[in-house]
Every structure is written in C-alpha cells, then in structure tokens.
C-alpha cells in the first residue's frame, strides 16, 4: 500500500500554517486590521455607502434586517443541504457504476467529462423553466455543479488500490462485487471526503446562482433584491451570512471526514 511512511509523524509543509496549535488568532487579528483599514478608507474618502459601505454600515444593515436575513438563510441552508446530499448520492452512484461495470464506465465517463464543460450557470434559466421557482431547480443546479468533484475524487480512490493486492484477492476467488465493497470503497473514502469538501463549497455557489436566476426567498434573492434597491449595505450583509453558512457547512463535512476516515493521512486544517 503506497501510504506515506511518514504518516502520523511529520505533516505536509502546509501544516505549518494550518496546525491546530497555531489556532485562529493570527487570522482573527488580520481580519480585524483589514476591517479597520476598510472603515478608515471609506470614512476618510467619504465613499458613498451604495458603492462601498463601511463595515459599521454593514453591521447596521445586518441588525436592521436580521429577521428577514435569518429567514432567507434558513431557505438557502435547506437548499444547500438537500442539494449537497443529492450531489453526493449522484456522484457516488456514478463512480460506483463506472468502476463496477467496465462497458458502462467507457460509455459514461466521456459524457460526464463533456457535461462538466457545459457552463452550468447557463442552465439556471432552463431549470427555472422546467421546475418553477421552488426548491427543485436549486437542487438540480447544485447537483449539476457539485456531483463532478465527488465522482472524480471517488473514482481516483476506487482505482488507486494496489494492483498486487487486487491480484491476490482475485487469486483466492474473490468476486468483483466483494472487491468493490470490501476493498475499493473503503479505500476510496479519504478521496471521497476530499471530493465532498469541494462539493460542499460548490453547493453554496449553486444555491446562490439558483436563487439569482429566479426565487422568491433565500439569501441570493435578498442580495439581488437589495442591489436593485441600491441597498449595498444589505447586499454585503447577505454576503456575510452566505460566507458564514458556507464556512460552517464546510467544517461540518470536515468533521464527518475525521469520524469516517481516522486512518487517512491528515491534510486537514486543525
């Protein structure tokens, strides 16, 4: 098994900046400094709030519109969650089908890659046309954006089992289905989790794009509505909530990763 022998000892070079002991203090300090500079620049040059609102103006908008922002966040979070789960299911199913059935894989894989090159954002109006303004078109859009990293990363994991081990398993009469579920699938979990983390961030993008294309609720809808009202502080307030949602979602997936694959090499933020 070609696992790095240094596993559990020295981490990759990146961990110098990501180690758990380093904590979030430097990041917090840098953010504060940037916010202060931002505030100072806006005040000093008297930039109009509808071009670049100061952080304090954004905070005011956040508090003023808190109730509607929270409602919108609930709608968007539901889209992200359902869309992410659907993407994961579609992505995993495709990877399993491609690996298990060679002929199907040869048929499917080029189509999957081809489809990946379609600009997915352009599909949003079509999905609205087909599925209306509710949850369905957002889920559809998230799935077409986010299934691909799941499929691709899981495929990489499924295919990277040591060929000698596979030969060994087959030589004692292990069938393809047994090899798939006892060896390939567990082996692919670290890759799958990496793919799911990408899918988590893509799901947020998908939800917002879906809401831009046509929605009557959600953070994307609030952002778009606020920008037509030239209420830029509210646009930024919406962005803040979207970011918090995205980061929170990402870390939930990362926690799942740690539970699911404790044996995997750690490249995590700590």
């Amino acid at each position: 098994m070609s696992l790095p022998s240094s596993m559990g000892l020295a981490g990759p070079p990146l961990s110098r900046w990501r180690s758990s002991t380093g904590s979030w203090l430097p990041a917090l300090a840098l953010s504060l400094v940037m916010l202060l500079v931002w505030e100072a620049v806006v005040r000093f040059f008297q930039v109009s709030a509808f071009i670049i609102p100061a952080p304090t103006a954004i905070a005011v908008a956040l508090m003023r519109e808190w109730a509607s922002l929270a409602d919108a966040a609930t709608v968007t979070a539901r889209e992200i969650l359902v869309g992410f789960l659907a993407s994961a299911a579609v992505g995993v199913a495709l990877a399993l089908l491609i690996v298990r059935f060679g002929w199907l894989g040869r048929a499917l894989y080029p189509l999957v890659v081809l489809f990946q090159n379609v600009p997915k954002v352009a599909l949003a109006p079509i999905f609205i046309l087909w599925f209306g303004y509710g949850l369905a078109p957002k889920i559809g859009l998230i799935v077409v954006i986010a299934f691909f990293p799941v499929t691709l990363s899981m495929l990489a994991g499924l295919e990277s089992v040591d060929p000698s081990l596979l030969a060994l398993m087959r030589s004692v009469g292990t069938g393809a289905t047994d090899i798939l579920f006892k060896i390939r699938v567990p082996h692919s979990l670290p890759n799958l989790m990496a793919g799911l983390k990408i899918a988590a961030t893509f799901s947020v993008i998908g939800a917002i794009v879906g809401e831009f294309a046509g929605a009557s609720a959600g953070l994307g809808y609030v952002i778009q509505f606020a920008s037509t009202q030239l209420d830029t502080p509210l646009v930024f307030a919406g962005l803040v909530i979207v970011s918090i949602l995205g980061v929170g979602f990402y870390y939930v997936v990362e926690m799942l990763e740690r539970l699911a694959v404790p044996w995997a090499p750690k490249f995590n933020t700590g």
């Binding site: 098994m1 000698s164 060994l168 398993m169 030589s171 044996w263």
Partner: protein, 281 residues
C-alpha cells in the same frame, strides 16, 4: 550449462517419480506484446521445487524473476510450457488456497487492524468460517510471525518490518502448501532485513512450507535457501542452479563459514555472467 534439456510432456517422469516435487515448471516462456513488437520476458524456464524446500530466485533487475513468481502464483499464464503445483494449474492451486503470496509492499488495508488484515484473505477465501474461528486463526498466525501482542494496531501504527510480518501472517493464514515471496524484504533497512530473514527461517522450520523467494541479495539467497536459481537477462532464463549444502538451522554465524563465502563467490560470478555479454550493468 545454462540450458537444461527440454523435455516434452510425454517424456516427463511418471507421476510417482514427481511426487516429491511440489512445483514443476517445464520449458516456461512468457512473451508480451503483439507479433511485431513481441518481447520475450522469460524463455525456456524449467525448474522443480521439492516439497518443503526453500528456493531462491536471484538475478539482475529486469530478468523477469518477479514475472516467473507471478507465473508460479497463477497471476500470469505462460505463453509456452507448463507449470504445475501439486499437479494442478497454478490458478486452480491458488483458488484452493495452496498458494500464499507476499510482495515487496505489505499491501495491507489501512483501515483494518493487524488482526483483521491477517484474516483478510482467509475470510474471503473461506466464507463458511465463523468470525471467531477466523480471528483465532489470524491471531495464531500473528503470534507465529512474532506479532501476537499488536493485533489491535492499524498499519500506520506499525513499522515497515512489522507490516511485512502481518503480510506474511495473512499469507500463512490460508495454510498454503507454497509460500511465494517477491523481494519481501526489499523495502526494509539492512538490520531489519537480517532480523526478518532469521524470522523467516524460523517460520519455515516451524511450518515446513515450501518457499520460493525472489531476491537480488546474494547473502540473503545463500543464507535462506537450499537451492538458488540464477536468472539471466533478456530474455530471462536460468543460467545456473546452485545447491546450498549448509545445514539448517542457520543463523547469522553461517555467513562466516568458508562454504558460505565460497558459494557467495560462485553466485557473484554467475550473476556477473548473467548480464548480456559486453554490457556494463
């Protein structure tokens, strides 16, 4: 002479005469590629391994010694000639759990502990076995290879030598007639290699398995085996067969004996001649 007489199948000795030979290879050839770019990997390999013997295959890189081992294991079908293990096709022998395989990499499953890794092959090969019987058997094998206490550890919590021991336990759990090992200690450091070689001799003497081991270490080959086949390159063929008449049990002290040094010299000379004439290795 480097070519043994090619015997056709009907000239083969009667079965009774071959009874003590567990492995027989008759004029085995392996070629890869289509007619035009056909490349001979192995040519006219004939050898027999008596039951309970410890045989080493040694040769320069690219001589096809690993390919030969895969042929014996039934993972590759020879293009010509025939191989039998206890009278069976190698692939059939493997299906009947008569062949244990150990590679240079331990190829353990990183999510399973040492015990479950040792039980892996037996578990898929014999579905009738109860889980507790399977675990008992795996535990016995771990104890045999000196890892009785660390069954609960995952591969990433084991040293390279320990991982390779688990891999040997996994092969032995099948209770195979033959243990085929492809440079099993090739990835280990010198000291670990020595310790592992000695352990392997002990395991061999306790279990009386027939072992065929591929190596490129002259010392390892003489220290371990009762017979060494030297393979030459392009195409791979047996250029010389040396019998190692040193008594077992052996330990590292055997390396100081004049017979050992004599054999070492002969083996080195054979290896040197195994390269293509005029080619600098």
């Amino acid at each position: 002479m480097h070519l043994r007489a090619i015997r056709s199948v009907d000239e083969m000795p009667a079965r009774s005469g071959a009874a003590t030979d567990l492995i027989r290879a008759e004029a085995v050839g392996v070629a890869l590629g289509a007619a035009q770019s056909r490349q001979e990997i192995l040519q006219d390999i004939s050898l027999s391994v008596p039951e309970g013997a410890f045989v080493c295959l040694i040769g320069p890189s690219g001589c096809g010694k690993s390919t030969l081992l895969k042929v014996l294991a039934g993972l590759i079908s020879p293009t010509s000639g025939r191989v039998s293990i206890a009278g069976l096709e190698p692939a059939e022998a493997a299906r009947r759990r008569m062949v244990g395989l150990v590679f240079q990499d331990a190829t353990l499953l990183p999510w399973k502990n040492a015990l479950d890794n040792a039980a892996l092959l037996l578990g898929v090969a014999d579905k009738t076995m109860s889980r507790s019987a399977l675990r008992d058997r795996a535990q016995q094998m771990l104890t045999l290879v000196g890892l009785g206490e660390v069954g609960h550890r995952r591969p990433d919590e084991l040293s390279g030598g320990m991982r390779q021991r688990v891999s040997i336990a996994r092969a032995l759990a099948l209770d195979p007639a033959v243990l085929l090992m492809d440079e099993p200690f090739g990835a280990l450091d010198a000291i670990t290699r020595e310790v592992m070689s000695r352990s392997l001799l002990e395991i061999w003497q306790r279990t009386r398995k027939t072992i065929v081991l591929v190596t490129h270490s002259i010392d390892e080959a003489i220290y371990l085996s009762s017979q060494v086949h030297v393979l030459g390159i392009a195409p791979g063929r047996i250029v010389q067969t040396l019998d190692v008449a040193l008594p077992y049990p052996r330990d590292e002290a055997v390396m100081e004996r004049p017979e050992f040094i004599q054999l070492e010299r002969r083996l080195r000379a054979a290896l040197r001649s195994s390269h293509r004439p005029g080619e600098t290795p």
